[in-house]
Amino acid sequence: MTYDAFKTTSPKDIIKRIKKKNVVLIINKRLSPKEEAELIEVSMAYVDGVNFKGIEIATISTHSNKTANFISNIMRIFKSDAEGITLIGNATHIKEIKNKKDYAVLKL
């Protein structure tokens, strides 16, 4: 999904899509902290314990500074641009999406 498409889709519809289709959504930008918090907030209203336990979300920077560590790079992006990607999936089917140094691991 492009970030432009994400911006024109309501958080409710994003969560419904993840819940219904069991897809891992890849967005071509790093979401802002407020957008992430909003998605978490909205997703909680859909938790039913059986089909949907919540979301797994991870952000990967493509704007990394090799001398800084991974988190520093992410925090730097909070302050400047949003280069990177965001992965969002249904936590009922995805065990974990874990940030690593310059990649993410998706465990099913």
């Binding site: 802002s32 902290p33 407020k34 992430e36 918090a37 978490i40 907030e41 997703s43 909680m44 209203a45 938790v47 314990g49 336990k53 919540g54 979301i55 797994e56 979300i57 991870a58 952000t59 560590n69 991974f70 988190i71 520093s72 992410i74 925090m75 909070f78 302050k79 936590a91 999406i97 940030n99």
Partner: protein, 212 residues
């Protein structure tokens, strides 16, 4: 939109410069089971001689925001009045089956999970009402976690001052160093809220932050 954001930013900076506040709303934020309630209770015990919130080993024990008003923090000649706001742990997923491992019945576990989802929503909404935050992390866990990153990012983008508290440093496998390494741009204070270790240093840093 950019203009509004700039206006808001400068308004908050200018109001901080000219209105030296003496009372604050301090939020305790973090993932579930990091020890937020234990730390909030420790502070309340130290300065108000009573606990005000419930802590336990079961995740999501705090499922609604609990407030202890007007706690007077004194250190030397410095004094601040603080409302302590214990918030539910922020999580991206809540699985009722996790509570079954703590000997809860299925009905109790499902009810707890439902309440916990509302708690996450409340905790996020409360970010609009706090003046400063203690981000409580479990020093025995890997700090590189999306929930931690999201919390810190939200505080940063809202210009809310915060300290990272590396809790449970009394435990064998705890490492405040790992948290410092993960978040080198931020102040990290190691404590054991349960054992009362490192609290004086935390209070010094808290007063320093709130007096800025």
């Amino acid at each position: 939109m950019v203009f509004d954001a700039l206006k808001k930013f400068w308004k908050s900076r200018i109001s901080r410069l000219f209105s030296k506040k003496s009372s604050f709303t301090l939020g305790f934020y973090g993932p579930p089971n990091a020890g937020k309630s234990t730390l909030a209770n420790r502070m309340s015990l130290d300065f108000a001689q009573e606990e005000f919130t419930v802590s336990s080993e079961i995740p999501h024990e705090t499922r609604e925001v609990v407030i202890k008003e007007k706690v007077e923090i004194k250190k030397g000649d410095k004094k601040l009045v603080i409302d302590l706001v214990d918030t539910p742990g922020i999580a991206t997923k809540i699985d009722f089956e996790e509570f079954l491992e703590h000997n809860l019945s299925e009905d109790e576990a499902k009810a707890r999970a439902k309440e916990a989802t509302k708690g996450v929503i409340d905790a996020i909404k409360w970010l609009d009402n706090v003046d400063a935050v203690l981000v409580v992390l479990d020093a025995t866990k890997d700090p590189v976690d999306q929930v931690n990153i999201t919390i810190l990012g939200n505080l940063e983008s809202r210009n809310i001052p915060f300290l990272i508290v590396a809790n449970k440093i009394d435990l064998k496998n705890a490492s405040a160093h790992k948290i410092r390494e993960a978040f080198p741009d931020y102040e990290v204070v190691g404590v054991s809220a349960k054992e009362g270790i490192g609290m004086e240093h935390l209070y010094d840093k808290l007063i320093e932050m709130l007096n800025k």
